[in-house]
Amino acid sequence: MVYEKLKSELTGQYQRAWDSFGMLVLDVSLEQLLPLVNRLKDDFSFDLLLDITAVDYPERELRFDLVYHLFSSESRKRIRLKLCIAEDESQVPTVTRLYGSANYLEREVHEMYGVRFADNDDLRPILLYEGFEGHPLRKDYPMDLEQPLVDYRK
């Protein structure tokens, strides 16, 4: 019932709603993302940001699919938000003002895929190191391209 309530009250703020194995998925566009997340957090108590990740489709024009997973502590339900962005999109809104956990998650998406989040000025590499060039989880980064920090012996 929670999902029905969500779908009916939020019509117009998302593009498409569908069901994925028992979880509601909302497809949104770039401008609809931040108002929708605000609305979900304030009115429907989706106060735990579980995860931010991205999927790479190199042959598409809008190359990346950003995926957000949210959890509501009141109704104990999860929801997924998906949006498509281009490779050099620079106006992806950041949700670090709303959720503290978004810090690490956005840093990871940035260094793995190269997605820039506007207003987030702390996009240092987190799982990789300073001096690593390239974005490893893109499909065109070869798996064994190593960039060693220490010179090898012999």
């Binding site: 959720y99 503290g100 956990s101 240092r124």
Partner: protein, 403 residues
Amino acid sequence: MDYKSPVSSPLEHTADPNHVVVNVGPSHPATHGTIQVIAELDGETVIKADVHCGYLHRGFEKEAEHHTYHKVIPYTDRLNYCSALNNNFAYAETVEKLLGVELTPRCIWLRTLLSEYNRLADHVCCLAATVMELGAMTAFLYMMTIRDYIFEHLNHLTGARLTYSYVRIGGLANDLPEGWLERLEEILKFYEDYIERIHGLLDRNRIFIDRTRGVGAMTPEHALNWGYTGPILRSTGLDIDLRKDSPYLAYDQLEFDVPVGIQGDNYDRYYVRMREMDESVSMIRQCMKQLPGGPVSVANPGVTLPAKDKVYTQIHSLIHHFKLVSDGVKVPSGEVYTAHEAPNGELGFYLVSDGGSRPYKLHVRSPSFAHMGGMHTLLEGYQLADIIATFGSMNMIGGECDR
């Protein structure tokens, strides 16, 4: 010799010149792995802390995109290596959901039993490491003995002590051997005897309470904002538990309580874990009584390997075996997110498939990574020695945090 530093911290530039910037480096004796904390100290008090993880990033997601579904199973073992079976089962359930495979009842109950058994092992390991750093060597050695008996027992079942890879898509690798359940009962009795001694050593110990009460405390709103789940969230007072809210496997047929804490400090986290271990033991006993018979893997030839004697005698079993091993299981295209209640929190797998035999994208929502994101808020304002205590009670497992 010039060493390139792999991280850069803004603290080097923004710190007050009267304060000392100290590096609690990636190789430190809190044996839970590689985390670097760059802390700005004023005397003994931590003013600001900067937590750097990523020293164990082993490229799990990139490896998963290049291997078939069965070959990914050993990689999932090494995520949360203290309780490898939980990761295995969460991953297998994700793939099975996309495939649309129904598990046999014996498999479901066995998976529940083994999940709880591994939860026991993980909590024992976490508490052992935490109290060792506070100086309680006796409790550490007692808990290591329990853990070793559990490892040997699981070695009898799966063939390995630590990284089992016991699950297969659609079932398990093999059924229980003779005498396994009797030995399980012996280990549970042994566990209860030892845990009584540890309760006596630590629960009302003046030094332990002074070191852990009030340290690293957080409110439920703070915990939700920074992404905490699992025993840490439950120690703040909320009873959010995936096994009760959206039950998976056989949890809806088991009776158990969800322990919650009061203040969300280190002592509460220790006590919530001790109570959860007792609940796990009672759940294991219920599973042992209600374990049904029957086959352990589903009989779907597109998913399960056929029995070895048939492979050597019948030609179509041989062909099945060959296709399954070389090409792998073919999963229809779609996407799914499944979450399990791992001993650390909510462990989720997000799988995107394009219809082939390799995942297009496999993402792990790991609890330890989110916990590390909020950890600097728990260190600021406390003393340098409290970093070790708080860090131990977070149970950060390096393999899970950095994947």
